[in-house]
């Protein structure tokens, strides 16, 4: 059986050990975000960027936004340059739903109205009420990394517990914006409600 004997081969041939290490490192670099066993080696910002990118595959946007031809898939980032930088590296030459991915670093709240996903950094959390007003009526998935944001009505929270980043989702807030979470996402995420 191939997958049992693979290890034996590896340990017996001296070339294989060296070759495998190289290949392993290469493969690791190319698939960095999804590899959990090595996740501890990555900075939280890298994992968060990967999570934001992966979220796109588990969220359904309403049809009217999907119709717009060859327009790129825009992920806007407000108030967190580290995550914006990591997202840029991660999504280079990548496509989401066959569209090229564009990362938009927003300097002010006035710029956030475009795109499919908006990441709000912890530094902008206190401006949430203003952000909310701009986003009203738009189908934009709001992602944050602070407990206050999700309680206030953002849709996804990336929260660090120990060495792992956990997902929290606010189904109610997403539904109000016309977004739907894939049921597979619900399995791995904790469901949170907005504070009244």
């Amino acid at each position: 059986m191939a997958f049992l004997t693979a290890q034996n081969k590896e340990s017996t041939s001296p070339f294989a050990t060296w070759g495998w290490t190289c290949l392993f490192v290469l493969v690791l670099l190319s698939v960095l975000p999804t590899d959990r066993s090595q996740a501890t080696a990555f900075k939280p910002a890298q994992v968060k960027a990967a999570f934001i990118y992966n979220l796109a595959s588990f969220v359904t946007w309403p049809d009217k936004t999907a119709q717009a031809g060859n327009e790129p898939f825009v992920i806007a980032v407000l108030g967190d340059d580290e995550i914006a930088g990591n997202l840029k590296i991660l999504t280079r030459d990548e496509r989401i739903r066959k569209r090229p991915v564009v990362i938009r670093r927003c300097a002010s709240i006035a710029e956030i109205g475009v795109g499919r996903i908006l990441f709000v950094g912890a530094s902008m959390a206190r401006d949430w009420s203003k952000i909310r007003k701009v986003l009203a009526g738009r189908s934009i998935l709001t992602v944050g990394d602070s407990d206050a944001l999700i309680r206030a009505g953002s849709m996804v929270n990336l929260i660090q517990r120990g060495r792992r980043i956990h997902l929290e989702i606010n189904i109610e807030a997403a539904r109000k914006a016309g977004l739907h979470f894939n049921s597979k996402l619900l399995k791995v995420a904790r469901i949170v409600r907005s504070k009244p």
Binding site: M1, A2, F3, L4, A6, Q7, E10, W20, L23, F24, V27, L28, S30, V31, T34, D35, R36, S37, Q38, A39, V47, F51, N54, A56, S57, F58, R95, I96, R97, R164, I165, L167, N182, K184, L185, K187, V188, A189
Partner: protein, 296 residues
């Protein structure tokens, strides 16, 4: 031992029919069992492949958001299929992400080389040991490799190893069943052929019995009952015709004999010979007649 050639028509026919049926049944059973063995395997492969695919689809989120706990729960659900010995989810780098095993999880490698997997044929039986009897048909284990793809990118791989040994037990029971049915059918074909062979054997039997009767009793008035229109019918009609012809010739001979007797009687009367002389003459005449018959 009785030779086949010495058997009566009745038994020959029955034997031929039962042998033909039996041979066809054996041939059919062989082909049927061969097909069964292949389809068992094929079904098992598709079943395991489908389970791997479903597991892969369900594991997408768990892999994307690094949640091995959920992945483990997904794999644990494979418990419902008792033939699954091991199952594991590997990341795109080939590291074990989650595992399930009936025995020890530690038997499942922590790292595999995903690039050296038999990519186009993800369903592949591996023969660790091949049992006698079904040799060449199957290995004892079936390994299924199912890639997990998200957004056109391979993000991981599901591996399932299933026990295929149940196929042998299943084939054994099917073979027993087929053998049982075959036995019943052969006995049945014996009964049916014993009845149906009469269509051929009965007329032949009557014909031969009638022939014996004619021979023993010298009775040419006997006829075979005949309502058939096949070759046997022609044979019986011919037999009847022959008897009729013999009978006719007999009656003609008798007639001429009588005529002769009358003539002799008349002549002797006319000559006025004595009764003793008449008897002598008649005897002479009979000898002559018999001699004539012999010569002719």
């Amino acid at each position: 031992m009785l030779k086949f050639q010495d058997l009566s028509i009745k038994h020959k026919l029955t034997t031929i029919i039962v042998l033909t049926c039996g041979l066809m049944m054996v041939l059919f059973a062989f082909l049927f069992l061969l097909n069964e063995a292949f389809s068992f395997q094929n079904n098992a492969r598709h079943h395991i492949a489908a389970l791997a695919e479903v597991t892969g689809i369900n594991a997408m989120a768990a892999l994307s958001f690094q949640d091995p706990q959920t992945a483990r729960e997904l794999l644990d659900a494979l418990r419902v299929e008792p033939n699954i010995l091991q199952a594991a989810i590997y990341t795109a780098a080939g590291n074990r992400f989650a595992a399930y095993a009936k025995g020890h999880v530690s038997d499942i490698p922590r790292h595999i080389d995903l690039h050296n997997l038999p990519a186009p044929d993800r369903v592949r039986p591996t023969a660790l040991s091949v049992k006698a009897g079904l040799k060449g048909l199957s290995g004892d284990f079936l390994d299924v490799f199912q890639p997990i793809t998200l957004n056109g990118k391979r993000i991981g791989m599901v591996l399932i190893r299933a026990d295929q040994r149940w196929v042998y037990a299943r084939m054994k029971s099917v073979t027993m069943m087929v053998a049982g049915i075959m036995l019943v059918l052969i006995v049945l074909s014996g009964f049916i052929s014993a009845r149906l062979q009469r269509i051929i054997s009965l007329p032949i039997e009557t014909l031969s019995k009638t022939m014996q009767k004619v021979k023993h009793r010298q009775d040419y008035a006997v006829r075979v009952q005949n309502q058939r229109h096949d070759e046997l019918g022609t044979l019986m009609a011919g037999f009847n015709d022959m008897l009729e012809q013999i009978q006719e010739r007999d009656s003609r001979l008798e007639q001429s004999r009588r005529k002769l007797e009358e003539q002799v009687a008349l002549r002797t009367q006319a000559l006025g010979v004595s009764e003793a002389q008449k008897k002598k003459l008649l005897a002479q005449q009979k000898i002559q007649q018999a001699y004539g018959e012999l010569v002719s």
